[in-house]
Symmetry: C2
Subunit: 504 residues, 2 copies
């Protein structure tokens, strides 16, 4: 036993204890907390955040890390842990207390202003707060340091190792290939999807959602599902992973693909090695890889024909009044209807990436100072016209729709698209390596796929960076080609489009 | 603004944040946590306890308290806060780390041994662990210091200011007056209570429990009710107070009086002054006073004839198959049936205190070393024969029934009886001060009583010690007379006993 490493491990595990306690306070706030307790809960979370920050920046941790960095007796996983912890430690140490306090205050004001602005659809309420926040975010880039583009400093917080160079290449392809493909299929006849918006009772939706999670091998001895206003996944260890869902009685899609999406996130968390609790090797790689797991289950599996060939009968049986005269092919076409729309969170699997592309482009311009906050609404609306071919009727449904910027989360949006692209690339590889995967999915056997994800992705925690992991699993770094092949094959078939013209 | 006092307040509030986060981890463990997460949760709670202990014993707090103790600009409430915090601080500082670690390890082993021993009804499994624990508890008494009797040091942890002298006087009266009274009424015909054990469905019990809480003015915007194996009340601020209940479909008593009992605890917590969050003036006085609030609602209100004159019709309407032919007087008699029994937690309102008396006497003997652990089962059984006139068939239903000793909680049991005695004394005073209280209770008006409790008890937090508060509210310190008057009047009527012979 290396006693320095053991000290480091105990330090990190105690830090995790504090962070997970804080996560439970937040979960409870969204799911069960009585309304009057908002102020007390806010200060409890804030105190725990302060303790966690203290613990993650102590000199004791710093000197342990410095010693362990030079310790050649550590194995590869231990070395990766020290490397990753040191990276975060050094970044954390760059923040002065004054900066943290100012940022926290500014974010809080910006969030309040955003809420009011969105309610009134009045960007001017938000504007001065967002200007202040952006000024601080630019300072944060300088303080953290970066190569090539200040935006890289922010990207690094959500997707370590990702750069503007890589993302530009990916989103160029979105613009050059996906946009024309969407144009082509949306000019064809849109499949009927009206049956998804009939009345689906809450009482029947809830147990069906639980059943979907069971089908996916979500472990209810190591997790649970609850209801919240906005679906999310959180965990307090690999042995306690919680998903939430919401039920819309007039749109069955929210519950079904919400459950599958959060279930995908949860399977990743449940698959992380419990014995590495609190260490990078026990944590998810990045937001992009996390999203790859949710998107793979939601789209590549949960919006596929094989999946519904097995599961549709039961759904139809539950809701005969809505689905009795809809056959599985029509159901499959309906749930995959593509249509440009205003709101990112309810976008289909293809146009979703145009929403992300627009945000990514705008974020870079804001951070580099090439665009001012006051120009935002006009820029937003012109980009929606350019890529999605639609007019934005007001700011509430336009530039004010997302919470992210008001939280100071710049560099977060691109990870959504990275998730889908990684998902397509991983899923293609799984099909190569698991003989008969499509047939398995068509007969309700999801364990072989889950095992493959466990072995190839979950079990490693943060031992590899996202790009390293992708190369290790698929033989190459992220490549838009696999998502595009998947999209053109699937939607070409649904829309009867001539995909041979498009696939390059 | 006194800046030292402000520093002290912020310190205490951060300490409360940590303790309340820990309380949420524990609440969640009892109510929602998935089974596999026990180990991770245990370490999270342990880390937070460690942080709280650190924060409650820092030199910084000590020197703030020393300065503030001499600060005559503080008002009476502020002075009481400093006095109470200093008392706890000094006690905490008496524990060495080595002692705390040994105690924690011993308790954990003792609890495991108790669980196994109770399952197998084999005291010998428990005995060596309890011996070790008692040795430590005796050391703890020396370490804390005491006057007159070492047991006073332990009592002080749960009921600051209570002493063996006061308790001996009270329990002598239990022995000399209550025991003969119970003998007398139990020689009369026992009222029929069989209707309480018919089948009461879970689906109808649950909403009825919520309704009882609403009737009592439990604030659901500042609290909630859930299900757990053992009912309890916890709080994370006066704005988030949670009760739990359990439902036994073959014994409606568990849910009804469980809800009312925990509801009484909860009303106290919701009535503590929120602006004193984290300070003694924002906390309950003692376990005894806490229990007085639960017992007052459970027994003096919830087992009274006026209460059921108003509420019985609805209950009867919900369960016509069980209660259709039971009139309210018969119901009232049945829920107040007195019968000596083996298990404390299911004892009636009168014999309950004999269970406590026995434990109190045994605890004193154990702590003073006058009785050895090996003599416990025989002593227990002989005391049950002496006071309750029953034979104990095995240790599982005898000396092994309670968890308290295995947790190291000696000095806790007497607070249960103190609670009932305080409750009777407070309730009598409320009747004097609220004109027509019985008529109000008989017409479902509970707000005047709650307001009286709020003004006289809840709002003060720990500003007064229990005995001071009792004197302030009722004009005298705790006096068994009021409980005995209540008991003889109520049960004399139910059992048609000649109470004139007994009331002295």
């Amino acid at each position: 036993m290396n006693s320095n490493y053991e000290q480091y491990r105990e330090h990190m595990q105690q830090l995790a204890d504090i962070n997970y306690a804080s996560a439970l306070l937040q979960w409870d706030q969204e799911v069960y907390m009585p309304v009057n307790s908002a102020a007390a809960r806010a200060r409890q979370i804030s105190t725990l955040s302060g303790l966690a920050h203290e613990k993650s920046t102590t000199e004791k941790l710093g000197s342990l890390l410095t010693t362990l960095e030079k310790d050649h007796s550590l194995n590869a996983k231990e070395q990766a842990n020290i490397r990753e912890t040191m990276r975060v430690y050094k970044d954390q140490k760059k923040y002065t207390t004054a900066f943290v306090v100012e940022m926290s205050k500014t974010v809080s004001q910006c969030f309040d202003a955003w809420q009011e602005a969105r309610k009134k659809s009045d960007f001017s309420i938000y504007r001065p707060r967002l200007e202040k926040l952006l000024e601080l975010k630019r300072k944060e880039c300088e303080l953290l340091g970066y190569n090539d583009h200040p935006y890289n400093a922010l990207l690094n917080q959500f997707e370590p190792g990702a750069t503007v160079a890589t993302l530009d290449a990916l989103f160029n392809e979105v613009s050059n290939k996906l946009v024309p493909f969407i144009d082509e299929i949306t000019s064809a006849k849109k499949p009927d999807s009206g049956f998804l918006f009939r009345h689906y009772s809450r009482e029947k939706q809830w147990p069906y959602g639980l059943e979907l999670l069971k089908l996916m091998h979500f472990d209810f001895d190591a997790g649970r599902q609850d209801i919240s206003a906005h679906p999310f996944t959180t965990s307090f260890s690999a042995t306690d992973v919680r998903v939430t869902t919401r039920i819309n009685e007039n749109d069955i899609r929210e519950m079904i693909w919400g459950c599958i999406h959060e279930g995908g996130h949860a399977l990743y968390e449940q698959g992380l090695p419990d014995e590495e609790y609190g260490l990078p090797s026990g944590e998810a790689v990045s937001l992009g890889i996390h999203e790859s797991q949710s998107r793979l289950w939601e789209n590549n599996v949960g919006r596929s024909l094989p999946f519904w060939k097995f599961n549709y009968k039961h759904l139809q049986h539950l809701f005969p009044e809505n689905l009795g005269n809809i056959d599985v092919e029509s159901f499959y076409a309906g749930i995959n209807a593509v249509e440009p729309s205003l709101i990112r969170t309810s976008a289909d699997e293809l146009t979703y990436h145009l929403h992300v592309l627009i945000r990514y482009e705008i974020e870079k311009l804001l951070i580099s100072g090439k665009v001012q906050v006051k120009e935002l609404p006009e820029l937003w609306n012109s980009q929606y016209k350019k890529y999605l071919r639609i007019d934005v009727p007001n700011d509430a449904q336009g530039v004010l729709q997302d919470v992210h910027w008001s939280h100071g989360s710049f560099g977060y949006f691109p990870t959504y698209s990275l998730g889908s692209f990684y998902a397509a690339q991983f899923f293609r590889q799984a099909k190569i390596e698991i003989a008969g995967l499509d047939e398995m999915l068509a007969s309700g056997e999801y364990k072989p796929l889950l095992d493959w994800l466990r072995t190839n992705i979950h079990v490693h925690g943060k031992t590899y960076r996202a790009h390293e992991l992708c190369k290790k699993v698929t033989g190459e770094e992220i490549n838009f080609r696999y998502f595009f092949e998947y999209a053109t094959a699937k939607y070409g078939r649904i829309y009867q489009a001539d995909t041979t013209k498009i696939v390059s």
